[in-house]
Amino acid sequence: MVKINGELLPVDGKTLTEYLKTTEYEPQRIAVERNGEIVPKSKYDDTLLKDGDTVEVVSFVGGG
């Protein structure tokens, strides 16, 4: 199981890209942290989610 934004999800084995496709996140408005490090967008296709991973998807909103 992978903990994503506090929720345990059975997405081990999926790449970040594959997981994000199943969500409503807009890829151009997010940053993804995995196990304490930010994953560059160029690595989303190659990043395989593993059992025990902790992930946070930060979704930026407008204003500033």
């Binding site: 940053a31 930010i38 930060v58 204003g63 500033g64």
Partner: protein, 211 residues
């Protein structure tokens, strides 16, 4: 009479100690976007005694900016980078500034941010916030990024928070109040988020690790 540089530094050191002032003086902080967040962040950091600010914005001061941005009526029409530099030097005459009247892109960001230890993201579009974050983490992961997301509207001030997302990434704001929801931007709440960001920068410079 404008104080001498020594008097100015002594006054700051008397406030928070010589050791911290040495760190602040040696720090170089980039402020990307000089609007509601950026102009307030810059003023805060200049007052606190940060040695050098890299100020980046492509835009000009507009009448609609005045209700939350640190510009004056007489500066309408001026480039934000020039106007803010002027205002900052009136407050902190010995502040070193580097100004860039350009739009930050993936292609130019590395060169623009090379001299910064800490980068403040102060854009208004979520895509640009994400673009800057991605560029910093991929190309300059040794630098710290302090970003702002969610400060629109009149929701409670207590919802504005500072969170450490990764070792080099601090995020301030309420995370959800978006201007696209028709929420206005109020100087008080924008300033709150900007202060959170400036405070995070000062804490990083001071070596504070718990966020």
């Amino acid at each position: 009479m404008i104080p001498t540089r020594e008097e100015w530094l002594e006054a700051l050191a008397a406030r928070h100690g010589e050791r911290l002032q040495k760190r602040l003086s040696a720090a170089s902080v980039a402020v990307c976007g000089l609007g509601g967040l950026g102009s307030n962040i810059a003023i805060c950091l200049a007052r606190a005694g940060v040695g050098r600010l890299i100020l980046i914005d492509f835009d000009r001061v507009d009448i609609t900016n005045l209700h939350r941005q640190q510009y004056k009526a007489a500066q309408i029409g001026m480039s934000k980078s020039d106007a803010l530099k002027e205002n900052l030097l009136e407050i902190a005459p010995y502040l070193e500034t580097e100004t860039h009247n350009v739009k930050i892109t993936r292609d130019n960001m590395r060169e623009l941010l090379l001299g910064a230890d800490i980068i403040c993201e102060a854009f208004d579009k979520p895509e640009e916030k994400a673009m800057l974050a991605d560029g910093v983490f991929e190309m300059m992961p040794d630098k710290s990024l302090v970003s702002g997301s969610g400060m629109a509207g009149l929701a409670s001030a207590n919802l504005i928070k500072t969170r450490k997302i990764a070792s080099n990434f601090v995020l301030c704001g309420d995370g959800s109040s978006d201007i696209s929801d028709g929420e206005g931007l109020f100087s008080s709440r924008v300033m709150l988020c900007a202060a959170h960001q400036a405070h995070a920068v000062i804490r990083i410079i001071a070596g504070e690790n718990d966020f």
